[in-house]
Symmetry: C2
Subunit: 341 residues, 2 copies
C-alpha cells in the first residue's frame, strides 16, 4: 500500500541521460543549462513525480525551511487569549505560500522557556524565531542572538537588539479608550493591566496614565496575569474601594468580560453605573449584553507582517523595523455617561 520509494534526483538524471548536478541546476533555475535541456529535465521530473527531498536539501544547504514560535505563557492563559490563534493564522497566510513551515513550541512545566529556544536552535530545527510577549530587559534577545539565528520581535524591546521589530502602537488604542470615556464625562477611570513584566503591559499602562493626565482624570492601575480570574479579582478590588471608578479600561477582552460579570453580579448596570472597555475585540464581545466596547487590533495582519519580516531576516537582510497601523476603538454598548451623583 505504502509506496515509500520516491524517485530521487539520481533516477531523474539517469532517465534524462544527464548528471545529477545538471538536474539540480535545472530545478533551481541556475545558469549553465541550455533551454531545451532544462525543459526536458523538468518535464521528465514532472512525469516521474519527483520533488527534491527536503531533508537532503536541508542537510546540504544548511537551512531548515522552518521558523519557530515559542509560547511562553501558561497554557491556561493561552487558551483564553484569542491573540495567538489569529496571529498564527496570519503567519500561516505567509508561510504557506513560501514553502515554510511553522514549528510551535510551548514552554511546559517540565521545560523552561530558555531551554525551549535552546533546544529548537541546538537541533537547527528552525531558521528563525518570532519573539512574542516581550518582557522588560528580555533575556531572550541576547540568548537568541548568541545562538546565531534570525529573529523578529513583536514590539520594540527596551534593550539593544539586532533583530527587526514588528510593532503596533497599543498605547494608541488605550488612549482612544480613555479619550472616549473622558468625552462621555468620566473623571475617574481605572486600568486593569497585564503583567508588569511584559513590555506591552507597561506600554499600555504608561499610555493610560499619560492619557488620563492629559484629560485631568483621576487614574489608578491594577496589574494582573491576564486571566479572567485575575480580571475578576481586580474588578472586585476596584469596586470595593471607598470611591470606585466610574469606568474601567481592561487590557484584554477576557478580563473585561469577567469584570462585566462581577459588576452585574453586584447589581450594577453596565454602562449606567459603570463603563467598561476591552482590548482585542473578540468576536464574542459584540454578542454580550451589553455589547463590549473594545480596541480592535489586527492580530492576523500582525502575524503576516511578522512572518514576512522574518523571512527577509532569514534571507540575511539588514534589520528594518516595521510599524503597523494603529488600532481602532470599536464603540458599543458597554460605555456610556457616568452616573450623575
Amino acid at each position: 500500500m505504502t509506496n515509500d520509494t520516491r524517485p530521487t534526483i539520481a533516477d531523474v538524471a539517469r532517465r534524462a541521460g544527464v548528471s545529477k548536478g545538471l538536474v539540480s541546476f535545472a530545478l533551481n533555475g541556475r545558469a549553465g543549462v541550455s533551454a531545451d535541456t532544462r525543459e526536458r529535465i523538468l518535464s521528465i521530473a514532472a512525469e516521474m513525480g519527483w520533488s527534491p527531498s527536503l531533508r537532503a536539501r536541508s542537510l546540504s544547504v544548511g537551512r531548515a525551511f522552518a521558523c519557530g514560535l515559542v509560547i511562553g505563557r501558561s497554557p491556561d492563559v493561552i487558551a483564553a487569549d484569542p491573540f495567538f490563534p489569529s496571529f498564527i493564522a496570519g503567519v500561516e497566510d505567509e508561510f504557506s505560500v513560501s514553502g515554510q513551515v511553522l514549528v510551535l513550541a510551548a514552554a511546559t512545566p517540565g521545560r523552561q522557556e530558555d531551554d525551549t529556544y535552546r533546544g529548537l536552535v541546538a537541533d537547527r530545527r528552525v531558521d528563525g524565531v518570532i519573539l512574542s510577549d516581550l518582557r522588560a530587559g528580555d533575556p531572550r534577545i541576547d540568548l537568541v542572538a548568541g545562538l546565531g539565528i534570525a529573529a523578529v520581535t513583536l514590539g520594540v524591546p527596551d534593550v539593544d537588539s539586532p533583530f527587526t521589530s514588528v510593532s503596533i502602537d497599543d498605547g494608541a488604542g488605550i488612549r482612544l479608550a480613555v479619550d472616549h470615556l473622558a468625552d462621555l464625562g468620566h473623571t475617574d477611570i481605572a486600568h486593569v493591566a497585564g503583567p508588569t513584566a511584559m513590555l506591552h503591559g507597561r506600554h499600555r499602562t504608561a499610555a493610560f496614565e499619560r492619557a488620563a493626565a492629559a484629560r485631568g482624570i483621576r487614574s489608578r492601575v491594577v496589574s494582573t496575569d491576564f486571566s479572567a480570574a485575575d480580571g475578576a479579582r481586580a474588578t472586585t478590588g476596584l469596586l470595593d474601594a471607598e470611591t470606585p471608578p466610574t469606568a474601567i479600561v481592561y487590557s484584554n477582552d477576557n478580563m473585561a468580560i469577567a469584570g462585566l460579570g462581577v459588576a452585574q453580579r453586584r447589581g450594577l448596570n453596565v454602562p449606567r453605573d459603570l463603563s467598561i472597555t476591552g482590548f482585542d475585540d473578540v468576536e464574542l464581545g459584540r454578542h454580550l449584553h451589553p455589547a463590549l466596547t473594545s480596541v480592535s487590533t489586527d492580530a492576523r495582519g500582525w502575524g503576516a507582517a511578522a512572518a514576512r519580516a522574518l523571512l527577509i531576516a532569514v534571507a540575511g537582510a539588514a534589520r528594518e523595523d516595521l510599524r503597523l497601523p494603529d488600532p481602532r476603538l470599536i464603540v458599543r454598548a458597554s460605555t456610556g455617561a457616568p452616573p450623575t451623583t
Copy 2:
C-alpha cells in the same frame, strides 16, 4: 559573534582516536563498544559540546522527528475556540520530553486542507499527523493512508481507518446536561449544535436526541458553524418560536455565552426564564453573570494522549484505540427550574 561551526561527529572521532562509526554506536547505546571506550567517547563528546545534527540524522534514518497538526477550521472560529490552544499545550507536554516537535499548518484561503496535508507529507516534514475535527466520510483518512504516514484520529471515524483513534465520549457530556435539566423539571429543551458535517457535532446531536427521548422531552436542534454570531442567530430563532424552549444546550461555551447575551438583551432572566448549558468549560464561564453551567472536557489531557498514541504509531505499533474518561458536568448558576406557566 555567531560561532556557527559546531563540532561534527568526525571531530569527536578524531579527538577520541576512533572511527565515526564507533562514535555513532557509542551515542546510540548499541552493542559492540567496550564500556570504557564508550565512556571515553561520551565524555569527549560532552566536553566538546557535540550533539548530533538532526538534519543529518533525519536524512540517514529517514525520519523527521516531527509531527503535524493541520487546522481546518477558519481562523476566526479557531480564535474563539479554547480547544486548540489547550489541546496543543497537551501535545507539547508529551513532545517536549521526547525530542519531537509540533509542526502546525493551517488551511488558509490560498490553500485547501488536502493540499496542506499533501505538502506536509510530500516534503516528508512530519512522521505523523493528528487528524482533528473528523467529518462524516472524512476523505482525509484515505488521503493520509495513501500518503503512507502515521496518524491518529481525534474521535472514531465513520469510515474504515487504519489509524489509532483517541476519543472522548462527548455524547456522555450532552447526556449529563440533558439529565440535569430534566431533573430540574424542563420538558422542552433545544440543542444548538455544531456543523452537521462534523462527526462530533453529529454525536452530540444524536446523544441529545436520545437523552431527550429517554426523558420524554420535547427536543429540537439547530445547527451552526460554531461561531458566536451563529450561536446568537440560532438563539434568536429559538426564542422567536411560538413556544420557545425553556432550556438550551449549546455545543460550545462560546455560543452559550453569545446566547446568554441574546437572552439578556431580550430582558429574559437566566436561569429564571431560560436555562443555558455550555460545552468546554472555559475559564471565563465561571466569571459570567450568571456563571455558566458547562460540560468540562480535558482538552489538554486529550492532547497528551493523542501525542503519546501518535508516537507509538510512528514507531510502528499496531492500531490500538484509546478512550478517555467521560466529561463531567459543572453545574453553576445558568441552569435552574423552568418558569412556572
